[in-house]
Symmetry: C2
């Protein structure tokens, strides 16, 4: 049995989210469950690449998978993931406004 520790899971969750395509997939799936056949044409990546990214998100407990006939449907497993992403965005926005402020200060000091 693969012993699960919070530390290991933390890294896995964060790594799973550290990829632009996977973040876009999550945003896309924020709209609800979707089959791979819908997802692929919505992205400018090969079928195998999308399949792999979906699988990574699934392996790391971010997405749930459900097979219906010849289709495979993916959905967000735990909506908490969006709280997490909101926190990331909050920090990103802080970083941007920090730069903006630095710009203003510089601008003011030039006058």
């Amino acid at each position: 049995m693969s012993q699960k520790s919070v530390s290991d899971l933390r890294i896995k969750i964060l790594s799973a989210l550290s990829d632009p395509t996977r973040l876009e997939l999550l945003e896309y799936l924020a709209g609800g469950e979707r089959c791979v056949c819908e997802i692929i044409p919505a992205f400018s990546r090969s079928q195998s690449t999308i399949s792999k990214h979906l699988n990574i998100l699934h392996e790391n407990g971010i997405l749930d998978r459900r097979i219906d006939g010849k289709r495979t449907l993916y959905r967000i497993k735990n909506p908490r993931i969006f709280n997490l992403l909101k926190e990331v965005d909050a920090i990103a926005l802080d970083q941007i406004s920090e730069l903006t402020n630095a710009g203003k200060i510089l601008e003011a000091s030039i006058k």
Copy 2:
């Protein structure tokens, strides 16, 4: 000028956090500003490795750096980072209790 977009920053922040040593560094720095000379002996990694990880956290806007004489001090730049980590932990804990529940269900079905 390196155009900053929220999407880019998101990935950078998440990538910066996707490493066990860097997460440990953040936990260590939760105790407040520390100089590298204190940090290094607290970790079982080479000086160059720790220096690099600190630099990655700094480059990605997670840590602030301050030079005082021949020492360099690092500190958490934005305490929001801990909210982010709390959200990650919440998801990790959900994943663990999900497994625990699956175990209980299995256990019950055996009886």
